[in-house]
């Protein structure tokens, strides 16, 4: 009998030892593969999008969800090595922003959070703790440098602290030497695989500034460019080729990404072209104030200075209901010599930028109730990307994207078509789990908490948005290189930070 009990005990243990084991466990070698690619040293080159910039800055927890870092976690299933990012250990408040010699660096504030008590985004009310002059002098796998345009990546001195404010505070922190270039530091790691997503800022600073910069198409002297200018497409293509040449010099494979349209990002799509509600009485009053201007247009048209069509386009007319705003448009025929300013009302093709939502409707002169910005006082050029400016940006972007695609083809690289991917957000991008994501700005609802993919700066994705980006890169890599890298579920990544007060 004792033997029987012993036997049963042994049997029991034997059976229990069979923990449920899958026929094909995913931790078994061979489940995932890098195909013809080699992920052992992955280097990501680019701008803020690569750096994990969100909510207006790079901060410690946000950087963890940069798209290259998310990709590297997945590459680890398929031979990926360690992936390093510039250190944010000194970001003790998880707030981003910069100090220079102990003083807050202007233009580099803390991250935006949604202040529930005010119902608006505000920089987190703490002092930045990241000191720009603490030089790390180290090349990292993540070589995304916020603010960089294409040609900046090969610019000696871009990381030289002595070059501030023209040098780049982000790159200063980790440039291996004051005169090192971003691409040199990237290549110094001997990448076996790379992502390259650059060129957004070559058009975006023009766009976010409401088109106040200059389209430098035809001018190849980048040293003459202003911050908000559009880079010449020839310069862009030449630069891009050089970057790809440098990254592929050792035979590395990689993936490049196209540049999205401005109409894919909430910075340009959140404020509607007709944000002014008005009743009939007010409309009549305002129209009366523009009667002289409208009469001047008829005078100009009658004398052949402008077409009847332009006169109609420029006529200011408010009515009961939602109304467009009055703007100054420098692309209109200049009639200022006749005392006729360049005013018109916005149309559905004009894009009011996100910050205009806090400006339109305020009083230009607090003592004068008729000085409503956008109504009695026309909006300046910097508040609106006009239809003409949208086309200028689009033309440059198309040229850049053509260069990206053809250089990729010539070098047998994969292309992640982020332009198309982000455009899907306009109508709704459906992930395989069933969720639908849009390019809407955070609207304060609990649904929006779970689904918003753009950060509070309106330009950059949040962690969830970067997860969508990482997933698209991986999809393209799997397709091009016959790799099998696990995909990314965007829904697990955080969205917006809401604080009760700030």
């Amino acid at each position: 009998m004792k033997n029987n009990i012993k036997y049963i005990a042994v049997l029991a243990l034997g059976l229990f030892a069979c923990e449920p084991e899958f026929d094909n466990p995913i931790d078994q070698s061979g489940t995932y593969s890098s195909g013809s690619a080699d992920f052992s040293t992955y280097v990501a080159v680019g701008n803020s999008l690569t750096a994990g910039y969100m909510d207006g800055t790079v901060y410690k927890s946000g950087q963890q969800n940069s798209f290259p870092n998310i990709m590297a976690e997945k590459f680890a299933f398929a031979g990926g090595g360690t992936f390093t990012q510039p250190s944010y250990d000194d970001d003790v408040n998880d707030a981003g922003g910069f100090l220079l010699n102990g003083n807050p660096l202007s233009q580099f504030g803390t991250r935006l959070v949604l202040d529930a008590s005010q119902g608006r985004p505000e920089p987190l009310n703490v002092t930045p703790t990241i000191e720009v002059s603490n030089l790390q002098a180290k090349a990292y796998n993540n070589m995304g440098v916020p603010g960089a345009k294409s040609f900046h990546l090969g610019f000696p001195g871009y990381g030289n602290i002595a070059g501030l404010p023209n040098a780049n505070a982000y790159f200063i922190r980790h440039a291996t030497s004051p005169n090192a270039t971003v691409i040199e530091d990237a290549v110094s790691l001997n990448p076996t695989f790379f992502t390259l997503w650059i060129g957004n800022n070559d058009i975006l600073s023009y766009a976010t500034s409401g088109g106040v910069g200059v389209d430098q198409t035809g001018n190849q002297n980048v040293l003459s460019y202003g911050f908000n200018d559009i880079t010449d497409p020839g310069v862009f293509a030449f630069t891009y080729q050089a970057l790809v040449d440098a990254l592929t010099a050792n035979g590395a494979k990689g993936v490049v990404a196209t540049l999205p349209d401005v109409t894919s990002i909430p910075y340009f799509t959140t404020v509607s072209y007709n944000p002014i509600p008005m009743d009939a009485g007010t409309a009549a009053f305002v129209n009366n104030a523009y009667a002289t201007y409208n009469g001047g247009l008829q005078f100009a048209a009658g004398n052949g200075l402008i077409t009847a069509e332009e006169a109609a386009q420029r006529t200011i007319s408010f009515s009961a209901g939602q109304n467009p705003v009055v703007i100054i448009d420098e692309d209109l025929t200049n009639l200022t010599g006749f005392g006729i300013p360049s005013y018109r009302m916005t149309t559905v093709n004009d894009l009011l930028i996100l910050p205009s939502s806090r400006f339109i409707g305020t009083l230009a002169n607090p003592a004068d109730p008729t000085s409503v910005n956008g109504v009695g006082v026309p909006l300046a050029d910097n508040w609106v990307l006009t239809a003409t400016e949208v086309e200028t940006v689009r033309t440059a972007r198309t040229a850049y994207n053509n260069a990206i695609v053809s250089i990729a083809a010539a070098n047998d690289l994969a292309v992640a078509d982020m332009a198309t991917k982000l455009e899907e957000l306009v109508s709704g991008l459906r992930t395989t789990d069933g969720q639908i994501y849009t390019n809407n700005y955070f609207n304060g609802t609990s649904n929006s908490i779970s689904t918003v993919v753009f950060s509070l700066d309106g330009v950059h994705p949040n962690a969830r948005g970067y997860a969508i980006v990482a997933d698209e890169f991986i999809r393209v890599i799997n397709e091009k290189y016959g790799a099998n890298v696990p995909r990314v579920t965007a829904g697990y990544y955080p969205g917006v930070t809401v604080v009760p007060t700030n």
Partner: protein, 417 residues
Amino acid sequence: MKKLLLVLTIAFSASVMYAGGYRVGVQGHKQLAMGHTGVAVVTSAESAFFNPAGLVYLDGKLNVSLGAAVVLSNTSYQNREFGYSAEADNPVGTPFYAYGAYKINDWLSAGIAVYTPYGSRVEWPTDWEGSHLVNNIELSAIFVQPTIAIKISEKLSIGGGPIYVSGAVNFNRNLSRSLTDETGARSNVTIDASGINAWGYSIGAMFRPTEDFNIGFNYRSKIDMNVERGDGTADFENLPAALASGFADGDFTASLPLPAELTFGVAFTPADKWLVAIDYTRTFWDAYEALDVQFYNSAGLSRNPRAYKNASIYKIGAQYEATQKVTVRAGFYFDESPIRDGFFAPETPRPDSVNFTAGFSYNLNSKWAIDASVLYVHSNEVQNSYDYYTEAGQPLSFGGEYKSNALVAGIGVSYKL
């Protein structure tokens, strides 16, 4: 003997059960060893559960069976597309039973049955990929069933009794797939309630056309376990400060049905010393439409459709009296999953299973016997998903491959006077 009783007492105090699903078939070591058949078997007080009508045919004036088991269960999850894997390390469950039957006169027996037929104890790694559905869950229910059996003739008897149930639940899940507090800790809720009471009944009949052939029938009613306001607590943790005021701790209401079960079976003696039993059980799982939890704060109504379907269990078992002292038993049953495709939620990861049982009784003397049994539950790997989690108005799918198994081993005593 005293030592054994002490062990059993300790086991009782940890009255929690195993689950793949939340039905746990460990209601007697004699019958479990025979593939959990028993509706037509008359060997011990275990009949109080399997078929109360059988009590009246037992030998002896007083029959008592006590037992407990340990349940070791595991479920593995993986998702190839995303590279996710997780293993539920479920705490050891300890189902138990205590049956007693007393023959009042030749045609009437009375008894009491205490058993734990439902329960679930599943513990996934905290914050795993399915944590918006469940982190961990513990369900338990103790059934107390006073029973009478009436012999209508030497060939026909009936029996039954009311069932009093005392149940408890503890369930934790994350509030969403991504919400965290300011430090990145996931927002979650634990609902906890115990001492939830409900009533049901069990009835049975037994027909014995010949000495060697029995037919049995048993029906146990559905019992709804309702958590009313004030019965339990809902504890919300790690909310970001901006949302915390909307998610104050409070109470909740919920309802979980313990479904009705109908069993038919036969038992016969093909040869001297042999007994073979075949049972068919239909479980009316369609009562489990949804696990809806109503909170009284911003969390509101949590709707979790389940839409279970009725399912069958096919059981066969045999016993052989090897010696005067030792009876050995073995059995097999096939347990059909009540879960429809697309409703496979990780808090009850229960696919179809094949179940192998074995055991023995050792007669210490004419009164006392020791009963022991083992059960091995094997399920094939399944690829399934739960497609009814709602996030921002959209139904979301969470799926992958699941594989589970369980081992149950237990010991008990029977007493016959």
